[in-house]
Every structure is written in structure tokens, then in C-alpha cells.
Amino acid sequence: MTILKATDIGISFGGVKAVDGVSFSVSPGQILSIIGPNGAGKTTLFNIVSGIYAASRGTIHLADEDVTGLSPHKLAARGLSRTFQNLQIFQRMTACENVMVGRHLREKCSLLPALFRTPSVTRQNRETRAAALDLLAYVGLKDVADVPAGSLPYGACKRLEIARALAAEPRVLLLDEPAAGCNAVETEEIDHLIRQVADRGVAVVLVEHDMKLVMKISDRILVLERGRPLAEGTPREVRDDPKVLEAYLGQHGAREAARA
């Protein structure tokens, strides 16, 4: 069963084909990693799938519904959530409030009760905060719940983004380099976290440069090079693919690796 399916996606920026004819699909509980050298179009592909860029060709289906060209908040309402490579946290809000915003779609949000603070608003606030604190505990940030997010260290912000994305209770989670800039211990924690999320039945699409992490947790791997799909398969298949070695190590390196 496929939950997210992208078919023949393409986009050009001023004549440069950043993404060209890429297709992939992912099922609930599965982890699909998208890897490739810098500039391969991984983040661009994420931006298209999450509705931030409009693709110039191709279609995207979410749970059998054609969602091509829908805006990000409409995709979020249909169960798609994501994190960002360059942190996009709400700096002036506390860690807890960041996650509470993640619950936005699960909250009733009418203006008049909010202005007059009816009891139902207070009750809902309490529930949202409790749910947010649970998620913060889940990613190991409960102690800093009421600290402004802007003053948190980098690794904590990465996990905060994951907690915020999970708060929306997504069916598909796109993670853009969740382990970038994290040390070995933090990477290990994120690795566990992603596996747990997938085990709950969420389809995870991961862009990551940390090959150890990718090889360990991925069910399938899609390799991109210069916007085009280069290889796709299980971690083992991809690791042994001479084309992939060549893309990463160059022709000479690939020959060396093959001999070794």
C-alpha cells in the first residue's frame, strides 16, 4: 500500500533542470532515504512534495488523492509534515509553544472565543500543552519546555523540529537532514527516534548525508545525481551499485572501490 507517490517530477530554475524526471513512492511504516551529492536536487524535491515550490511537470498523490500544486497548509491538513535542513523554528516562542503550533490542525481555532477566552479555549489550551509536553519528553526536551526556542543549542532545535512535525500527527513525514551538524550521540538518538516514528506507521522520507545512518535505518534508498534518478533499491543494492560509487567517488575512486 502506497501513501505518498511522486511521479516524473521535474522543475527548472532559469533553464537549469534542478529536478528532472524523479519518481518515488513510500508506504506507511517505511523509511525511504533520498541521497546524492550536493546539488543533486534533494531539498528541491522536498520543497516540491511539500508544496513550497510548484513543479513544472509530474504529479503527486497522497493517499490516492491527486495533490499536485496544493499549498503547504492544505497538504499539512491531508497528513504531510516536514522538517527543514536550515532550521525553521519559531525563535521567539518557547520550545513548548513551537510544538503547540504543530497541533494547529488538531485545534479548534475560531476567533471570537479566542478574543473573549471562553472556558473551552482555556480547556483546549491545557490539552494542547499537555500533548506538546508529551512530545517534548519523547524527543528528550521536556526540561527546556519553557525556554525560548531561539536560545536552544543546534541539536535540540533539530529534535524540536521533529517534535513539532510529529505534533500534527502526520501520515507522511519528510525529514531534511535531521542529523546534520549533530554529534555521534545526537545522531544515534535521532536514528532511534526515526525508527520509532516509522514503527508507529508513519511513512518517513529522509534526506541525509550521514551514510552510516542512512544505510542502517532505510528500507529503500533513492539516489539522485544532478536532478536525475541514478539508482533505487535496498541499502545493500545501492551500496554495491557501481554507478552510485562513481557519482560519489568519481571514476577512479569507483575502480579502486571495486578492486578493494
Binding site: S50, G51, I52, S71, P72, H73, L75, A76, A77, S81, R82, F84, Q88, I89, F90, Q91, R92, M93, E97, M100, V101, G102, H104, L105, E107, K108, C109, L111, A114, L115, F116, R117, V121, Q124, N125, R126, T128, R129, R164, A165, A167, A168
Partner: protein, 315 residues
């Protein structure tokens, strides 16, 4: 959560006490008048701060809504025979509708297009008011009928001190309420990162529009109150300089701080009164004080000072 709730009640309680105690130290009715002007400006600024400080959008023509509120209570009773209190509500509704119509196409775009659009709107409204002299009295302004509520004729600077003070309390209460709701959080989220707000499902255009409409209604009610209080209104209240003054109050007091808007209004309304003794240097000194306080308190008076006290308390 308990701490936040207490802070909200504390703010309201302190404000209520200040409003209640000031009359005991005021030596003349002139002081009541100046204080009422402060409350009215603060009310408009609190609304504008929801738009600027919370949702991060700038309106450079906010006096237009102030003017619509003011002229609604002038024109309604005089020309159309509408009861003054109903004219206030109609003015607020008109402002809301106008803000909605202007904001809806503009706020779909990214960037500070709202600032430009409202700049144009402000000029347009001021122009209409000064040229439609049959209705508005033109540049000379027009008298405003006294407000009567249930047979009670609301007049005199002493009475208006209490009425505007009560309005300010309600306005403060609502603004503080909003802060800790899904709507308030959506405002602050889209201010910090529009793209992140979108991907968690916040309809950014819709919430910017809501903030703009709320700010317009605040300004309109403040405008109506001022017109009732003065018993007279002229186009300056809807003019560009008044828009700039409102923005200055918000920035000077502190973006995003409700208390900041009140403090900003206190400074910007009372300072010119206090500086009149310097005659021709009045405006120079006013400008200088604003520039210096913005250099040394970049986040605005209230956030800068409360940050300073918190650091002192910790060390």
C-alpha cells in the same frame, strides 16, 4: 501555565489600579483630558501591535480606520439620524469590511505589500474626508453629537476619563487573551517563519487577514471614542502623520508587548505636552528623545527594561 495566567491578571490589575488612582493625584481637568487621550491612543496602538508585533505585518495607513470610526459617529447621527452608539458599531463594521477587502488580495503575497497598500489607503481615506465637505465639513472638520447611553449623556473630561479607561481595559484584556490561543500562536508563528507555519497547517494569508481586521476594529473604536470625547473631528485624525504616530507608539513601546503599547502612548502623548515649555525646540527634543530611546532600547521600552530587570534579578 499558572505563571502566565497570573501575569495576565497582574497586568490587568495593575492597569486598573493605575486608572483608578490617577484621579487622586490629578490637580485639574486638563490632566483628565490628557490621560483620556493617552487611553485612546493606547487602544489604537494595542490593536496595531497585534498586527505588527504579533503577526509581523506593517500598516502605514492605520489612521484611516481611526478616521472612519471618528467620522462614522460624526456623520451617522448628524446626517442620517443613527443613534451615536449604533454609529460606533457601524464604523467598526465598516473598518472591518474595508480591511478585509484591502487585505484579502494583498496578504496572499509575500513581503511588505501591506505597508504600501495601507499607505495608499490612508492617503485615499484622508483625501475623501477632506473633499466630501458636504458630508464631512471638509478640512475644517465637523461637530460630533454627544454620546447618550440609556438616557445618560456622556460628557465632560472627567466622565470620558472613565469611559476611555474602561475601553482600554477591555482592549487590553482582549489582546492578552488572544496571545495564548491557537490564533495568537499562529500569528506569532507566521511572524517568525512563514514557511514553517505553513507546513504545520497554518493558513498564513487567512491569519494575516484576521490580524489586520482586528487591528482595524481597534483603531475604529478608538477613533469613535476620540470624536465623542472632543465633540469635534477634523481630517488630521485620519491623516498620514497620525498613522506614523501610531506606528511610533507601537515600536517605541515594544513590538509584541501589550503593556509596551500603553507605555508608548503615555510617552508620545504626554511628552509633547511637557515639552511645550521649550517652545520652538519642542519637536526637535521630541525627535531626539525618540531617536535616543530607540538606540538604547532597541526592542522598545517595555521589552528592553523588563529584560534588564530579569537579568539583574538573576545575577
Amino acid at each position: 501555565m499558572g505563571a502566565l495566567l497570573n501575569q495576565r491578571f497582574l497586568t490587568l490589575a495593575v492597569l486598573a489600579v493605575v486608572i483608578a488612582v490617577l484621579p487622586f493625584v490629578f490637580p485639574s481637568s486638563y490632566y483628565f483630558r490628557v490621560a483620556s487621550l493617552v487611553w485612546v491612543s493606547a487602544l489604537a496602538a494595542i490593536g496595531l501591535n497585534i498586527l505588527m508585533g504579533q503577526a509581523g505585518q506593517v500598516s502605514l495607513g492605520h489612521a484611516a480606520f481611526f478616521g472612519i470610526g471618528a467620522y462614522a459617529v460624526a456623520i451617522g447621527p448628524t446626517h442620517l439620524g443613527i443613534p451615536p452608539w449604533a454609529a460606533l458599531l457601524i464604523g467598526a463594521a465598516l473598518s472591518a469590511v474595508l480591511a478585509y477587502l484591502v487585505g484579502r488580495p494583498i496578504l496572499r503575497l509575500k513581503g511588505h505589500y501591506l505597508a504600501i497598500a495601507t499607505l495608499g489607503l490612508g492617503v485615499l481615506v484622508a483625501l475623501v474626508i477632506s473633499t466630501e465637505s458636504g458630508w464631512t465639513g471638509g478640512p475644517d472638520g465637523m461637530p460630533v453629537e454627544r454620546l447618550t447611553l440609556f438616557g445618560w449623556r456622556v460628557s465632560g473630561s472627567y466622565t470620558w476619563y472613565w469611559v476611555t479607561g474602561a475601553l482600554l481595559l477591555v482592549g487590553t484584556w482582549i489582546a492578552l487573551n488572544l496571545d495564548e490561543t491557537p490564533t495568537g500562536r499562529a500569528f506569532r508563528a507566521l511572524h517568525d517563519s512563514e514557511v514553517a507555519a505553513q507546513v504545520v497547517g497554518v493558513d498564513v494569508a487567512r491569519f494575516k487577514l484576521q490580524a489586520f481586521v482586528i487591528a482595524a476594529v481597534y483603531a475604529s473604536i478608538a477613533g469613535s471614542a476620540l470624536a465623542f470625547m472632543n465633540g469635534f473631528i477634523n481630517p488630521d485624525q485620519a491623516g498620514f502623520l497620525h498613522s506614523v504616530e501610531l506606528v511610533t507608539i507601537v515600536v517605541l513601546g515594544g513590538l509584541g508587548s501589550v503593556v509596551g503599547s500603553i507605555v508608548g502612548a503615555v510617552v508620545l502623548v504626554t511628552l509633547p505636552q511637557a515639552l511645550t515649555m521649550f517652545h520652538e525646540y519642542e519637536h526637535l527634543l521630541l525627535g531626539l528623545i525618540i531617536v535616543v530611546s530607540m538606540i538604547f532600547m532597541r526592542n522598545g521600552i517595555v521589552p528592553s527594561l523588563s529584560g534588564l530587570f530579569l537579568r539583574r534579578a538573576r545575577s
